[in-house]
């Protein structure tokens, strides 16, 4: 397939001006072809098409919507190795990792297809009329969820497949019945074009209105800002930096009609080491920690950027093992020169911080944009008084906080901002201590992990990839797993409607086979 560098505005391919190029991550060299950048008129056209498609797409049979999601997955698989190779060039991520990420991407499209067919997300509720109720009769009341309307999705740099053009936000918005306008990430425009072709092809093959999907490329933030401000957009999905997420929240809140923003922004994902477990497995934990830290050059939202342990010989053994593992860790190409520069800057600030001890750096870089792992430590009291140390450094950098006792550890946890995850390593003898910490951790994070590592997010029904601000803009939601569909829905109630005018799923008898509440009682089928 030949890349053209064009935008996808509905089924139209548009050659825009103001070109930019993808960059080969390993060398920093520009890649062919040049890509056109969207202007405000392109944003507006994509949004007009999305709104025009909205009602039609929302009212197609659920089986059609599910088949459309499956067609996207099939089309992505048909792209074959070309997709992985282009993504590798643009992001520097290894091919094996990208193959796994492709599996996750098509898997989540198919999971949402199954979820669409399941229908539980429709939230069907039927309270039949009670004509003879005293003192007043009760009306017939039925409610269901409807899609919010067109959704703006921002591709993320660190998951060029699973959280980009056809990633989790797009899959869940399409599953909810919302057209999607993607603002592609400029770090992987070729990957974006290939995936956009897969979606646009599925739109056409499924006979859907063209506005169900558009892809706008851009380098300037103005394009994303215009997209979020467009009155036809009704919700936003974003994964990226805290500054970026806050900027979008601000734009959305100031619109004449404010809209919800689901921004997954920043986290340092604390890992707590309990004493009995540390005593038992300090060395193995130290090595496993660094494996999680350095995976994907540390460029995961769930990267373990903070470790808390109680002072003592076992913690020293953990530190020794982790120090050695970091020292032996190869440098790894980062996603973009800018991300690499920001990583080096963040690491440099920690090195220059007098309260922070620099324990280890990974092996020297073998290429221009490779990040070296970095390990630091700090005392709990110093951590509590220096807010800089708790800021995310995106990449394989992590800080160990040495706590004198349980009280100090609890103070550190209590002082943390909202997080995506919190992990505890513990043995049976540690359980009373863990039991005291869990209620605090529940308030801080969306996912609690026992004796594992936060990297690796299962796409399933029970997953929560979310958490209190500033981990996300809205801790009431998840961006991974089937529950993500709920972000793009709102309820509508129908009072005393005749069957002929009710939506199909609310007609008398039509709830058979769909989860629903009848007079409050849940009916599984």
């Amino acid at each position: 397939m030949t890349l053209t560098g064009e935008l996808f505005i509905g089924q139209g391919r548009v050659a825009a001006g103001e070109h930019f190029r993808g960059i080969e991550a390993e060398t920093g060299h520009p890649l062919e072809p040049p890509f056109g950048a969207a202007n405000p008129e392109h944003v507006s056209r994509a949004c007009v098409l999305a709104e025009a498609a909205s009602r039609d797409y929302a009212t197609r049979p659920l089986s059609d919507r599910a088949a459309f999601l499956e067609a996207i997955a099939d089309n992505i698989e048909r792209l074959g190795d070309e997709l992985l190779e282009r993504a590798h060039l643009e992001t520097g991520l290894p091919l094996a990792r990208l193959a796994g990420e492709r599996g996750r991407t098509v898997g989540q499209l198919r999971l949402f297809a199954a979820e669409v067919r399941d229908g539980g997300w429709l939230g069907l509720r039927v309270d039949p009329a009670i004509p003879d109720r005293q003192p007043l009769p009760r009306s017939d009341l039925r409610s269901r969820n409807v899609p919010l309307g067109p959704v703006a999705v921002f591709g993320a740099s660190n998951f060029p497949l699973a959280f980009s053009v056809a990633g989790g936000d797009t899959a869940s918005a399409l599953a909810a019945g919302c057209p999607v306008v993607v603002k592609g990430h400029p770090a992987h425009p070729g990957t974006s074009e290939l995936v956009a072709g897969a979606i646009a092809g599925a739109v056409a093959a499924s006979g859907l209105p063209e506005g169900v999907f558009s892809l706008l490329n851009a380098v300037s933030n103005d394009v994303g800002a215009a997209l979020v401000a467009d009155p036809r957009i009704r919700a936003v999905g974003f994964t990226g930096s805290r500054a970026g997420g806050l900027a979008l929240m601000n734009i959305a809140a100031r619109r004449p009609v404010p809209i919800p923003v689901y921004a997954e922004m920043s986290a340092i994902n604390p890992v707590l080491l309990m004493p009995a477990m540390l005593e038992e497995k300090a060395e193995a934990l130290g090595a496993a920690y660094v494996a999680s830290l350095t995976m994907g050059a540390g460029q995961f939202c769930t990267n373990p950027g903070l470790v808390l342990g109680l002072e003592g010989p076992a913690l020293d053994r953990f530190v020794a093992a982790a120090t050695q593992a970091v020292t032996e860790a190869s440098a790894a190409t980062m996603l973009t020169p800018a991300i690499h520069a920001a990583y080096e800057k963040g690491v440099g600030q920690l090195i220059g911080n007098a309260r922070v001890a620099a324990l280890a750096r990974g092996k020297d870089a073998q290429g221009p944009h490779q990040g070296q792992a970095a390990l630091f430590s700090i005392l709990a009291d110093d951590f509590l008084t220096d807010e800089h140390v708790s800021q995310e450094v995106f990449g394989a950098s992590s800080v160990l906080v040495r706590c004198a006792d349980e009280a100090a550890l609890a103070r550190v946890v209590a002082g943390l901002e909202g997080q995506l995850t919190a992990t505890v390593h513990f043995a049976a003898a540690d359980e009373p201590l863990v039991a005291r910490l869990v209620p605090l951790l529940e308030e801080k994070a969306g996912r609690l992990i026992a004796n594992g590592w936060p990297t690796g997010v299962e796409v399933c029904h029970a997953m929560v990839h979310g958490g209190p601000f500033p981990a996300t803009s809205d801790g009431r939601s998840t961006s991974v797993g089937t529950r993500a569909i709920e972000r793009f829905l709102r309820p509508v109630c129908y009072q005393d409607f005749p069957a002929s005018l009710l939506p199909d799923v609310l007609k008398p008898g039509a709830q058979q086979g769909l989860p629903h509440r009848l007079d409050g009682r849940l009916m599984a089928e």
Copy 2:
């Protein structure tokens, strides 16, 4: 019971300075006793207590939480006629209406008690481990909803019982497991004190931590602003004016940690009259419309402030009937002198609008703060070009929009802001026209009503009392009905937790009897 004018800060009764008094609605005379107004220190103390109570309250058995809600209902009933008489004095609402509202208030507390026991709102999801999955095993993943934490609730003037101190927002937040700090409405401080006593008594009798409930009285907006800005508050429930709701949204969005605001703000609740129905029942509809319009002096969020009809003799008959009914409508005491003044101002602006025809006023006032019903009409094209006419006038004022044809009617609907309700009156012959309008109405309102009137909101499972902005701040929610509990929850996932450390409802086997999803499959019991 003797009113003291004190604040409720947990179980402490606090005599504050800066007194204000309730006003007898019918006469405008000040009532005994003087009430103390909260200062910033009181706000802070109430929030500190709420946060201190939060974890304990959240982890009580669901049966205890349900019993607590029922105890509040019982205590409110025990207040007897004194509650109704005080509410009547302070609001001017008839005793019969207040008796009905009390029934709704205790009914919704008991409905939420049943909902707490049902447990569907826990959103339990269990995806068991798959140790032998290739290429990677799956962890055991379980998730549930937890309460957000302390909620600030603003009492509404127009429902001194059902949407005030122990109203829908309080009931749903307490049901979710969140402590509540109420900012009482200054228009009915005595009513608020009586109800607060009922709640505080139930807190004590149930052995709950005192911070589960506080009542702060105030006249100045500063107290509410400080409450929403307090870092310990995690969500806000508000029913009131658009200006008030927007101000709270703004404060919440600018906090270091933004929080959700559920503000129910303004609506004009369009009523669409279809031609065959109008032909058949013009006179009866005209009379029924005015009955809905003038109920409770028009002081309902769901008051029918806008009627749309197609030009013709049948519409003229409707207008004649409505005009006559308005002319015969008695003036009614409004909730406060300020609300009455705002109503007169709004009606005056419509009278002074050259595009608007004043059709009728109700009978003359018999007291100082009585509102007279008012009926206006305007042509569709004029309505579309004058945004003032579509603004809510809180009270028994309504505007009829004369539409030349279906296209004009659809344009008027398309131009409306978000609404709580949309009503259609139609006969069988009108159904094709209604079928074309319903998709548009679904996008505009949270509840669609067939051949009824929007006033009167059933408290049940399928109810949606919400709608797109600016009807509410968040069209994804409802403030009436059991679904309101969802506003105060967030999901937490537990990965590979041993049974000993899982919350009770997620322990293996504990989902029996509770709605849950097992590997995505819904299990009703």
